[in-house]
């Protein structure tokens, strides 16, 4: 059964109405306008201009209109149907927003500040929401803006979807592009060995030069990104390949960081172990703790395993934070003055130098992950992930394999933790909250679970982008939550899905007669 155009519009309208009101209530309308302003190169001013706010609302209205316009397009779908859907969607969402806007505008006019209960709704944001007009005029403007933009966008999207000319044209161009690449033999060039040498050479040069030129702020940002890449690659082993979700991954990060910190900081144990030794020990202790924690729990079913690891992580964090451990781990205050790297006795602690350390670590872990991925061990992990029972029946010691995967993951997390502590020259219990794990899980999933380039993409998108879009800082976790839900629904394999290697073809291409 097909829903009528009005129904369709009504449903979309209510959804978008709620979204707009929520955005207003959490102050995102102001942030959104600011983001649009930034897009157009406007300088960071405290109050975004009315123009950018209008543009922001128009974009939302157009989105509403586009999603309201009927899909899939059949013969019976007429232009009228699309227009009605869009119009209704705009009208309804606009009306919902207008009513709420009017209420708040009226309250504000009567000098009632809603910030006691809704701290994000400032008088400025109310004024902006109502286009700096009176409550009545403002809400009417809101209504009109939404209706018009939704209707226009519904009509436009009708044309885009129905217009065969456009569809064919774009198909042709992409074909043409592909043809060009093929005919020019670009593919072969790109795949040739020299190309990869050139690529690596350029990458190396860039990686050597960049930390020197872009200043300590970007070194800090990309240092964090690098540490999260390491964490992501580590989690990928146990979760992406072996298929065991570990929510409490941060526990191993904390173990690595604390091991390193306690060995190199003057307080509380007066140890000044060499950076490299402490780093190795941090990795080792984290790996062993992965082994020990894994022993009793790795036979648990997937979701139980996830929750148990969460329990472990919380226990470790609460213990670190408690007074009980103050003598051993410096308690809630954390550990200061953690040592930095030295090479041949020379300190190596400037932000540029440390960036190199992180780059080397990222490359090393990437290399290891790459080597493991399609090895015999890696295949065993993936087999366990897909069907543990059958994997066992083909001779794989599933428990042992999972234990190995968890230990390796934990060791990598230990490395990340040690680097993190060393770079910040500080570590405390709050560095190791559950949100670190959630961040890592998000970036692995968003990038493409089980895929190495996916981890890079995910880390840049989830740790790098928010640094650039500073306005969104407080909305970051909210967006993560939505992102997780949407990814699981639409694209659980992530933006860069993992690909299987082509072994048969590869073997066929190498002249097999020689070695026989």
């Amino acid at each position: 059964m097909r829903s009528s155009a009005v129904d369709n519009g009504l449903r979309t309208g209510v959804t978008f109405g709620i979204v707009i009101v929520t955005m207003f209530l959490i102050g995102f309308t102001v942030t959104g306008a600011g983001l649009i302003g930034k897009l157009f190169g406007a300088s960071d001013s405290a109050t975004p201009s009315l123009m950018f706010y209008s543009l922001f609302m128009i974009l939302i209205g157009m989105w509403a209109g586009a999603s309201a316009s009927p899909r899939p397009l059949t013969e019976a779908d007429t232009f009228k149907r699309a227009l009605i859907s869009g119009l209704v969607a705009g009208l309804v969402s606009g009306a919902i927003a207008a009513v709420i806007g009017f209420i708040f505008g009226d309250l504000s006019a009567n000098k009632i500040d809603p910030r006691t209960y809704l701290p994000s709704v400032s008088p400025d944001s109310i004024k902006l929401f109502l286009f700096n007009q009176t409550p009545l005029m403002g809400s009417l403007t809101l209504l009109a803006l939404m209706t018009v933009s939704a209707a226009v966008s519904a009509a436009l999207s009708f044309f885009f979807r129905s217009n065969h000319w456009l569809k064919n044209k774009s198909g042709e161009t992409s074909n043409a592009a592909r043809g060009f690449f093929q005919s020019a033999g670009l593919n072969r060039v790109l795949q040739s060995q020299y190309a990869s040498y050139v690529f690596w050479a350029i990458t190396a040069v860039v990686l050597i030069i960049l930390p020197r030129v872009w200043g300590s702020y970007w070194n800090y940002v990309f240092g964090t990104v690098g540490i999260y890449i390491i964490l992501g690659l580590g989690l990928n082993i146990i979760t992406g390949w072996a298929g065991q979700l570990v929510i409490g991954y941060v526990a191993f990060f904390a173990i690595g960081a604390y091991t390193f910190a306690l060995l190199t900081a003057p307080e509380p144990h007066h140890l000044t172990v060499n950076f490299w030794v402490a780093l190795a020990l941090g990795v080792l202790v984290a790996g062993i703790s992965g082994l020990l924690i894994g022993l009793p729990i790795l036979n648990l079913r997937g979701d139980y395993l996830a929750i148990v690891t969460l329990g472990f992580a919380e226990i470790i964090r609460i213990l670190l934070k408690s007074d009980l451990m103050t003598d051993y781990t410096a308690g809630p205050r954390g550990i200061r003055d953690i040592g930095g790297p030295t090479i041949l006795g020379k300190p190596f602690v400037s932000d540029v130098d440390f960036m190199y350390v992180i780059i080397v670590a990222v490359l090393a872990v990437t290399f290891i992950a790459h080597r493991l991925r399609n090895s015999r061990t890696g295949k065993a992990w993936f087999a366990i992930n897909l069907d543990e029972t059958v994997a066992r029946a083909t001779g794989i010691n599933a428990f042992g394999s999972k234990l190995l995967a968890l230990s390796l993951s934990a060791a990598v997390a230990g490395l990340a933790g040690a680097l993190f502590a060393s770079r910040n020259q500080f570590t405390g219990p709050d560095d190791h909250a559950l949100m670190v794990s959630i961040n890592v899980i998000c970036l692995v999933i968003v990038g493409g679970i089980g895929n190495i380039p996916g981890v890079f993409l995910g880390a840049f998108a989830l740790k790098g982008l928010p640094e650039i879009l500073r306005e969104t800082e407080s909305y970051r976790l909210l967006i993560f939550g939505v992102l997780l839900v949407i990814m699981m629904r639409l694209r659980p394999e992530g933006f860069l899905p993992a690909r299987r290697p082509e072994l048969e073809k590869h073997a066929a291409q190498t002249p097999s007669g020689k070695e026989a």
């Binding site: 065993a380 993936f382 087999a383 082509e502 048969e504």
Partner: protein
């Protein structure tokens, strides 16, 4: 000939229900043996006991005179017992050749350290694995399909790939759970030949569960009949075909008279209307 696999009074009980009841089966080396019986007779349960999924409550299972009951599944597999499943269970998200390479797992030694360092051992093993995988693909008639995902293969190809994966470990005993289920007569015919060639060319002992009597009677050296978890008959195909208890188990004691009774009742019904 030595016994390849032998069960001695094996019983498996599920919550009070005896699924397999004191069953003795002896399969000589290099034989093709079948287990038949009505649905729910305990055939697959017996398979699961042999391959190590279940630990039988009573009895012993001997593989070349070595007791294997209670051994973990992966060790049973490593010793040389491979199996297929009634409802094909491949690693769907892996390619065909990778499925076979997982099957080869116990035969190779390279560990994670080898993988990271890319030691000569790991490189030569990997090369050997791919080579043998391709040979196996060719053997089961899937040449050229090695790089397609297992779940995208057609039904018949999936069945053959599953057997190829089982063969990858060079097993001495192969357990086949309804290898011709869902096949048409021509495909069944081919599969029958294929199973025989496994024994003749590779020297593998085969124990299979099968419902298609043409297949069973055609290739079995020995047939064991289970009913309600109990062995009710054992012997050569000819003996089984004429065994009264087997006929009863499959068709009921006086199926002819029942058939006549029901046909009569049908006639009366037609007469009425």
């Amino acid at each position: 000939m030595p016994a390849c696999i032998q069960t001695k009074k094996v019983s498996k009980i599920f919550g009070g229900l005896t699924a397999v009841n004191s069953v003795d089966v002896v399969v000589p080396e290099n034989a093709i043996a079948s287990i038949i019986g009505p649905n729910g007779a305990g055939k697959t349960t017996l398979f699961n006991c042999i391959s190590g999924y279940y630990v039988p409550e009573h009895g012993e299972i001997l593989f070349y005179d070595m007791p294997i009951q209670g051994q973990p599944t992966y060790e049973v597999a490593t010793m040389g017992i491979a199996r297929t499943y009634q409802n094909i269970r491949l690693f769907g998200e892996m390619t065909a050749i990778e499925n076979i390479m997982v099957g080869q797992y116990p035969r190779f030694k390279a560990g994670w350290v080898d993988a990271i360092l890319s030691t000569p051992r790991e490189r030569s093993e990997e090369k050997q694995a791919v080579e043998e995988g391709r040979r196996l693909l060719k053997f089961v008639g899937l040449e050229g399909l090695g790089d397609s995902l297992a779940r995208n293969l057609p039904y018949g190809a999936q069945r053959r790939l599953e057997i190829a994966r089982a063969l990858a470990n060079k097993p001495r005993l192969l357990l086949l759970d309804e290898p011709t289920a869902g096949m048409n007569p021509q495909e069944t015919e081919k599969m029958t030949h294929f199973i025989r060639s496994l024994r003749d060319e590779l020297g593998i002992t085969i124990l299979l569960i099968e419902h298609d009597m043409r297949v069973v009677m055609g290739i079995s050296d020995q047939i064991t009949v289970l009913d309600y978890g109990t062995k009710i008959a054992e012997g050569k195909p000819k003996d089984i075909q004429s065994n009264q208890r087997v006929i009863e188990a499959y068709l009921g004691p006086d199926v002819t008279s029942l058939t006549q009774k029901y046909q009569l009742r049908k006639k009366q019904r037609y007469a009425k209307s």
